[in-house]
């Protein structure tokens, strides 16, 4: 297993990257931490003619607490997110999400931006981006633009980034007060991609009524999937087991044909989505009741 031949370049500025992408179009592939791309190259499932290594560009590696969100440079290693005090204290859901990604040995190399731009439907960061309505900043020939998560993930390994655009920053909103969260995954081994996963947040008012519910299912379709109908069923209720069961049935029932592969059938994934959703809603609600 050796990669097919390719040219390699390591530009030191974003305008250089954009120029290279314009020159090579879809023949070029951006190399960030390589934890997804390199296996694809080794197995010759990808054959780009040139790799553009963005690791030598200064100023793409940062974690900044801004007003109401955390802004993270696209080349920030997942391990840096894991070890940053500001992430642990101000965004525990981001920390917990990061700890679900592969292993420390992969997180040392893998980047937040790389995971989001790669858009694997079973990966954690794309699901989190969709859950939180994250904003992706990208630079292309026409300058910078901001893409919301809803418009970002198009289909399997495909985003709305244009051929000559490069992701530079991801902004992840902080959770509102009185909000609980949960991540539920089933993996065959710790650190593997999830057969199916669910992320949820529940916001309660002072009287225990649900004012906001967010629910994302991942690993069960071509992109992470926001379960809007199920969310609506929870808002205005004092959510309990009855509501969790009904919303979970709705979320899993609304799925188009889930993925089917050697690891799990579509039917199994749909049922798993239902069970994990119920658990996620229960845990998020319990945490919301305890959250300040």
């Amino acid at each position: 297993m050796k990669p097919p031949p390719f040219e390699y370049t390591a530009p030191t500025s974003i305008p250089e990257v954009v120029a290279l992408l314009q020159e090579h179009d879809f023949e070029a592939k951006i190399l960030a931490g390589g934890q997804s791309l390199m296996p694809l190259l080794n197995m010759r499932l990808a054959r780009p003619s040139i790799l553009i290594d963005v690791a030598r560009i200064p100023d793409l590696d940062y974690i900044r607490a801004t007003d109401g969100s955390i802004a993270i440079g696209a080349m920030t290693r997942q391990r840096s997110v894991e070890l940053a005090d500001t992430v642990r204290t101000s965004h525990p859901l981001l920390y917990a999400t990061t700890m679900h990604i592969a292993h420390p040995q992969n997180r040392n190399q893998g980047t937040l931006g790389g995971s989001i731009a790669h858009a694997d439907p079973a990966a954690e960061y794309p699901a989190l981006a969709l859950l939180l309505d994250a904003e992706m900043r990208a630079v292309g020939p026409d300058g910078e633009r901001t893409i919301t998560a809803t418009d970002f993930f198009i289909t399997y390994l495909t985003t709305s980034l244009e051929a000559a655009e490069v992701l530079t920053e991801v902004r992840l909103p902080l959770l509102p007060p009185r909000t609980g969260w949960s991540i539920q995954e089933l993996t065959r081994r710790h650190g593997d991609y999830a057969l199916a996963g669910v992320m949820a947040t529940i916001t309660l008012d002072g009287g225990g009524q649900c004012t906001e519910a967010r629910l994302v299912l991942f690993g069960v379709g071509a992109t992470p999937i926001r379960a809007s109908n199920a969310e609506q069923m929870l808002i205005g209720t004092k959510p309990g087991q009855t509501e969790f069961v009904a919303a979970a049935a709705k979320a899993s029932g609304d799925l188009d044909e889930p993925l089917s592969d050697v690891h799990a059938s579509a039917e199994y994934r749909r049922d798993l989505a239902r069970v994990l959703t119920r658990r996620a809603l229960a845990e998020a609600t319990a945490n919301a009741a305890g959250a300040a």
């Binding site: 031949p5 190259l41 420390p104 040392n108 190399q109």
Partner: protein, 166 residues
Amino acid sequence: MATPRTITLSVNGTTHQVTVEPRTTLVDLLRGDLGLTGTHVGCEHGVCGACTILWNGKAVRSCIMLAVQADGSEVTTVESMAQDGELHPIQQAFMEAHGLQCGFCTPGFLMSISELLTRSPDPTDEEIKDTLGGQICRCTGYQSIFTAVRLAIKKLADARAAGGSA
């Protein structure tokens, strides 16, 4: 063939200048070009951890890292551990606690544990398990490796207390 590139990197403290094809993985550079065959190649897609090395002090998979990505970096391999025929305390602990049988996965384990104990000399059980979870061993069973890590922590603490350099 793609345009070869000349890179400079430090491996176990020795600076090397080598010309490689861009597609050369770091592990192939280490084993093939530099003759450092202590780093093993297993799955070649970043899952098994046999090829784990330290890249600027961080444990990474050298099978899914290109040699060109390591240009200007400091790489540390298992060959750096034993000094003048003396096993490193982590290696000694592996031997005493039966942390290995066939030994194929061992270089990767040693490098991952080396990063852990440098960053966190007194780790929690969870930290140790998180680190070991990234390495696959198919014969020893993880319990004796875990025991070896606990023994290594003690050996390293004793060496520090005695003013040793390890």
